[in-house]
Symmetry: C2
């Protein structure tokens, strides 16, 4: 394997991966090499551009820590996350649709009883959220585990605030015997994804804004059902048609209804797909 050139190197690299023991890994490596080389060949990547790519990935890695995930932001803004979600969540009609997970979920968030306030001091207009979790035939799903997370009124998640080391606007709850849940929180607002890093530079260089429409994240897990990762989006938001991460689905748009006292009410029900 000497004297490889631009016409034969791709086959040589694929051959190198041909004895991969795991068949699925072999399939992935083969396709990855084909598309990676296809990209470089299609644009006739220069050495200077290759260096810029290495530098971009390096900076993306270095800004990523346990509270910031720039590679997920990159995947989100290139539409890879939503493509992956779409390919893997082709649910029967009637089920709640899935959307992107995003970079701000935290495992092992604090548990709350139904009716409690998960905001824990977060800024924002008071908001009451309620709904029901059912299966596709209408059967109630009791004891479903709901992970809920959202930004505050500044458009920031707790993990983005340098001075905050405890959970705000995030928590874990369980549906009651009738599949119902309700909790208090703050009003979700539109916010820009973190754009002071490599992904922000990419968005600026490509003439794109970094905004997401206001939304509330849910991950719903229940025995016998597929896990649902989704958001509820706020109707009327100016960014619903230009979400920087391509995540909006019309079926997930709902009205946060303003109440006489200035608080808001969101009512949204979820329908889970049975596990296969």
């Amino acid at each position: 394997m000497r004297n490889l050139n631009q016409d034969n190197i791709t086959q040589a690299v694929i051959a190198r991966f041909s004895s991969t023991p795991d068949a699925r890994l072999k399939e992935i490596m083969t396709s990855l090499v084909q598309h990676l080389h296809g990209f470089a060949r299609d644009v006739k990547l220069t050495e200077g551009e290759w260096e810029k790519g290495i530098d971009f990935l390096t900076r993306t890695g270095h800004i990523t820590n346990d509270k910031r995930q720039e590679f997920i932001l990159l995947s989100d803004t290139l539409g890879l996350s939503m493509l992956t979600v779409a390919m893997n969540n082709d649910k029967p009609a009637g089920c709640t649709e899935a959307t992107v997970f995003g970079p701000f979920h935290v495992e092992n968030a604090p548990h709350f009883e139904l009716g409690e306030d998960i905001s824990n001091g977060a800024k924002g207009a008071p908001c009451f959220v309620r709904g029901k979790v059912t299966g596709i035939g209408g059967e109630v799903v009791a004891g479903a585990t709901l992970d809920v997370w959202q930004s505050d009124d500044d458009g920031m998640y707790d993990v983005q605030h340098p001075g905050i080391d405890h959970a705000q606007n995030r928590g874990v709850l369980h549906t009651d015997a009738d599949g119902n849940f309700h909790f208090r929180s703050t009003l979700a607002v539109a916010y820009p994804i973190p754009h002071d890093g490599p992904v922000g530079q990419m968005l600026m260089a490509t003439n794109n804004h970094p905004w997401r429409p206001a939304h509330l994240h849910f991950r719903i897990q229940a025995k016998g059902y597929e896990t649902l990762v989704t958001h509820v989006f706020r109707d009327g938001d100016q960014y619903l048609d230009s979400d920087v991460v391509f995540g909006v689905r019309q079926s997930l748009v709902a009205d946060w209804v303003e109440q006489a006292d200035g608080s808001y009410l969101l009512a949204y029900d979820f329908v889970l797909n049975p596990a296969t």
Copy 2:
């Protein structure tokens, strides 16, 4: 732009980059999105595999520092580096061929006078290296700047030794008025690329070894000529046909001739391409 699915999301993402002011960046982003999505679609990437990919890139970023460049190792081992070199260094017959830059070059290495020993205490059999730099018509290239770097007898570059904070087996020299250079060093040996990180895990999982055949790196810069980045490989090395980074070119293989006293002599001339 709502309700994107696996069939229409790629065009939607490409449209998002359609107002990129820089035409070349627009071309690159468009092709990148097509191939990135094409890869995910071809293998029907699962959400768990996507998570593993995010984790792999994150670990690759975190192990990268000013002395270790895991993204370059990844590019090298996927053949992307050599493909990029091949596409951009299509020189006229008679010119010295280029190969990969690798991750171990250090800018601003110490300067040496011709004849000096660049090893600076590095372990290894003594080696004398000499040669001439000319243009394609045979004209001598006086005052060319040669960056030279190589591993020691343990197969390690200075920057890989935790206890060494000074340059070993690396230096900058200039050709004399006749285009000649000569310096002392140590015998180059085969070595494995760093394989205690994500790239090493990838190689192990795909049943590949991490070895490179013995070689000596050169970067040669001279006014009026294209910069040449290349290696000289040691003839007889067992890894010449399975270089983990796909870098070997037969024209770059040379004999390190053992002398009666146990030292070695490498004689190799370089021919530069005129700058366009």
